[in-house]
Amino acid sequence: MRLFASGIRKLSRRPATFVTFGLLVGLLVLIVLAVGATANSTMGNGANQATRAAAAKELVTFPGAYDRMLAFITGLGGLFAMIYGAAIAGSEWSWGTLKSAVARGESRVRYLLASFASISFMIAIGVVVAFGIAIVAAIVGAHLAGLSTSGLGDTATLSGLPARLLKGWFAVVEEAALGFTIATLARSQLAGIGAGIAFYFGESFASIFLPDIVKFMPFSVANAALATGSSGGFGGGAAAASLPADQALVLVGVWLVGSLVVTSIFADRAEITG
């Protein structure tokens, strides 16, 4: 608990926390507002323009907008979370702060797991706050597009929202765990971030050729776990050959636990010579 609280104090003062969150929310707000503002513009031509406008309006139309905002946060947010996880784990090695804790008699595994738990906590706050901001942005976007926001209070959607946010958080945490593990294995911030980004894009790219394998991969299962069938969503894995949501959710858990087990085993055996 001491370590967990300390982890949160450290993260809440860390520039990377605010940069990551700010970048995600900034992009999200920018896109949603831009989409809303241009939904009725007459740029482009004919049928193409019509489908684009329809898709744009769909993005900011409630209650569907709830899901689409969440998909945005778990999609792009998943990539950001992975980078964040890699940055935190990698810096423990590159700054040597893990060394200091271990030399004080701290358990490596406990230290790293507590650090990851505090990352998960920060992600929970991040997901909720980003979601709130996204909804506000979507309302503004809807106004810009001249759409009604009457679906805002749709009770069926609202009652399902906490569970969906929880699932979204879980998926993002899994992606953070992946970055955390890669950076631990690489013992470096940059290598962790680089490998993580390569993983992310590699997965989407490979899904073109190997959809049956890639659908089991971390980013794809994270997206699939939240899929409702209707929502397309932004960023991340391929929607083409995704798993059913329930199955995907189990796999998210498997990836999460697997990553942390690998981190623990590696950290326990590693020689800390930095």
Partner: protein, 352 residues
Amino acid sequence: MSGPSGALTSGGAAGADGLALATRGLRKRYGDRRALDGLDLSVPPGVVYGFLGPNGAGKTTTMRVLTGLVHSDGGTVEMLGKPYKRGDRRRLFEVGALVESPTFYPYLSGRANLRELAASGAPVPSKRIEEVLDLAGLCDRADDKVQGYSLGMKQRLGIAAALLSDPKLLLLDEPANGLDPAGIVAMRDTLKALASQGKTVFVSSHLLAEIQVMADMVGIIAAGKLVREGPLKELLSMQGVVKVRVRPDLMEAAIKTLTPIAPAEHFTETDRDEGWLAVHLAADRAEEVNRTLAGSGIYASGLESGNDLEMLFLELTGGHGSGGEGAFVGLGGPNGDDAHDGGASAGNGTAA
């Protein structure tokens, strides 16, 4: 600088054999490279123990093994009276360490860094953080971010961090790194004060002059093995030197005159041009040397005496090929430390 508060632990820190820290046959390889090759150290409680060795001798590796950062390939360690094995991490709750360079979160202040460090390992009362900041002379800058600290300030913070849990055994790897003269004096006083409270300070250094004024005991290692260990005074008395300057044409006569008080192998003509003759004798026999020479009508134009750790160091480690010894002679001292100039020339003469 005031001494740290906390329980005094004179006898409690010692093992059955009376040692605060003991290694027996400690071995460690990094891949093909043998860093420790059967190291036997015996550190009694309540002393400042100077841990010396040329670059690459295995000092940092020893510290890493003792703090559980790397795992030894063989041998045993006994710490504060009990065997210390892999997995005994809680034993480190009574140990404070600074291994190689100090490490911190650059975006946190010095105080915040200590606070977060205190969340790991042994619990630390929060007032202790202020005590160690004070001890390290960092109170003024404790709220500044560590990324804005100078090298010496980081080092001070590293020493403060090592003292955080008021350890019975303190392991410091080249703590004087980057410290200014005032910082070095303050650190020396602190370490001596800790030892006088019954705590054990195990400190590696390249600053031999520093160890010479601070350590009660010295262990010298080379290529991962102990080559000499003992109370500093004892080692130095074996390593005393009296240097006399006589006219070059009287050199032979001077040696002949002094032969009754010092066997022939105790003479080194350090630098023929200058006419200095080094006699390996306890330093307190300088007067006797002078009197003997004068008795034969040979008058010294210069007389120096001292116990030179550097000479002992070079002599003991010079023959070991783990790197460093060539550089020592060539560079005239590993840290460009002027304080050893006289000794270094004597040392060269001896080693040659």
